[in-house]
């Protein structure tokens, strides 16, 4: 099942409302990593992210216990709205602290902290396999973009291509990389089972 099940959501909510520790843990496990990811994508530091998410989840659990969740939206959307408020509070605090304008959309978009190579040999092999599934031109533009940090315009100049063509190549390379990763993982899983 892809989307969260309303029935399991209801059970989770009831568990939290009744003060069930296991339900609270499940609630935390479900939302904490997603919210942390969203904050990291906006360049929020680890400590701030932890604080914001902790505030969000504590507020959500408290409101659930106070029966303030009315079920007019899904549980995820409701948690997201609490998170949005907390995040905006954080931004306003950041503005006050830094005495400079910090617009939400000006937050630099960053990826999750990259796992150090060698920490996960399996991941490294999967990424390598996904890269090998790309044609050389796409592999090169992807490396220049992701590793070299070069924007499409710069890559276009380097490869003597049009900017539009380069952008299309990059988009295609990223899609193929994702598909190659999934395929590599699917072929790797049975092998691991055999081992």
């Amino acid at each position: 099942m892809s989307m969260s099940d309303p029935e399991s959501d209801r059970l989770l909510i009831e568990g939290v409302q009744q003060g069930d520790e296991a339900a609270c843990e499940r609630f935390d496990e479900r939302f904490r990593p997603r919210l942390i990811t969203a904050l990291k994508k906006r360049g929020v530091g680890t400590y701030d992210a932890d604080d914001i998410v902790q505030d969000t989840l504590a507020a959500a659990i408290a409101q659930l216990r106070d029966r303030r969740f009315e079920g007019r939206s899904t549980l995820g959307s409701w948690v997201w709205s609490i998170f949005s408020n907390r995040f905006h509070d954080f931004l306003r605090g950041a503005i006050r602290r830094d005495r400079r304008a910090v617009a939400l959309d000006r937050f630099e978009q960053r990826g999750l902290p990259a796992p150090r190579v060698g920490d996960d040999e399996d991941l490294r092999l999967l990424v390598r396999a996904a890269m090998q599934s790309l044609p050389p031109r796409e592999r090169l533009v992807l490396l220049l973009n992701v590793q070299g940090g070069r924007p499409a315009r710069e890559i276009a100049q380097l490869l003597k291509l049009g900017v539009k063509v380069t952008e299309a190549l990059l988009t295609s390379a990223k899609r193929r990389f994702r598909a190659g990763l999934a395929a590599a993982q699917e072929t790797a899983a049975p092998k691991r089972l055999k081992e």
Binding site: A114, R139, Q147, R178
Partner: protein
């Protein structure tokens, strides 16, 4: 059989995982997708996997080795054309072949223009034949040179020999039909028609090999060096580093000496033409003669100028390719260390 792999119920939103993880999503897309992530376990798992992979992609410098140097240079620049017709310089080869052929065909008309009424008809048959022959021969000379380079030789000697042989054939073919008398009337003694033509051929050869063949084949040799991965050596040579040694069989034709040579021979040509025009006597087709001489002189300048322009551009392309590949390798080494 049922598909055991779970899929997101909203494929449009699921597609956003790629720009989201690569950091390409705009704020609106990000918010929409994050809201979706709160509910969708499939997309959340996909984000976890893809995010980790993108992180590894960012930091694993060894991934650069999934591309060979020849693949990189093949994608980056001039060396990519080595296996194409005339090493990727077909257009330039066609242009210079036509100009060079015109340079040898036009004197056929020039030499008899003084008595166009008597010899014009024959010249109008001979000149196109010379033009067609020399165009084909020049293209063949360049193609054979390229083939030689691809096989590991310099190719210049073969090309020069082919062009020399083709020119000799033209001279030998024209000799029996050329009028024996001196047609051009001037205050100094002019050449008989055939010798005049041979003189024009010698003039053409002053620029032919130096501008048509040498730079062309040098560029092709450099392309081959790059395909072989000798970027550092090529860059050293092109930058004029004392340790930069050209490959055997061909010297590095530098742009400045070539330009100075062109300036010198142009001056010589201009002085010669001025001397001729100053001393010409009145004739029935003087205007035609002078017009053809000036056209020939213009061609004689145009051909090396085009070759030089093309050559300078190719040298820049070669350097750019070397720098790109070397910077790629340096990035790799630096991050690796």
């Amino acid at each position: 059989m049922l598909d055991s792999v779970p899929h997101c119920s909203d494929p449009v939103l699921a597609e956003l995982a790629t720009p989201y993880c690569f950091g390409d999503a705009d704020e609106g897309q990000r918010r929409t997708f994050e809201l979706h992530l709160m509910e969708c376990d499939v997309c959340w798992r996909e984000v976890q996997r893809l995010d980790a992979a993108v992180g590894a992609l960012r930091t694993d410098m060894a991934l650069a080795h999934t591309l060979t140097v020849s693949e990189i240079s093949g994608l980056l620049g001039l060396s990519a054309g080595l296996d194409r017709p005339l090493a990727g310089h077909l257009r330039h080869a066609l242009i210079v072949s036509v100009l060079w052929a015109l340079l040898l065909a036009l004197p056929v008309l020039v030499e008899i223009a003084w008595r166009w009424d008597r010899y014009g008809g024959g010249a109008l048959i001979a000149a196109p034949l010379v033009f067609a022959w020399m165009t084909g021969a020049t293209l063949a000379a360049l193609a054979l040179g390229v083939r030689g380079v691809r096989r590991g030789r310099a190719g210049l000697a073969v090309s020069v020999l082919v062009m020399l042989a083709a020119t000799a054939v033209v001279c030998a073919a024209l000799a029996p039909f050329a009028p024996v008398e001196r047609l051009v009337e001037a205050r100094f003694q002019t050449y008989p028609v055939f010798l005049g033509y041979v003189k024009a051929v010698v003039h053409a050869w002053l620029v032919g090999p130096a501008f048509v063949l040498w730079p062309f084949l040098f560029v092709v040799v450099m392309q081959r060096q790059l395909v072989a991965g000798r970027h550092r050596a090529v860059l050293r040579l092109l930058k004029g580093d004392p340790e930069g040694v050209p490959p055997p069989g061909i010297r590095y034709p530098r742009v400045l000496p070539l330009t100075l040579y062109l300036a010198t021979v142009s001056l010589y040509n201009w002085l010669g033409m001025a001397h001729l025009f100053d001393n010409l006597l009145a004739g029935p087709h003087t205007r035609l003669f002078m017009g053809l001489v000036m056209t020939k002189s213009a061609l004689w300048l145009l051909l090396p100028a085009i070759c030089l322009w093309w050559y300078a551009g190719c040298l820049n392309e070669l350097k750019r390719e070397c720098l790109a590949v070397l910077s790629f390798a340096q990035d790799d080494e630096r991050r690796g260390s």
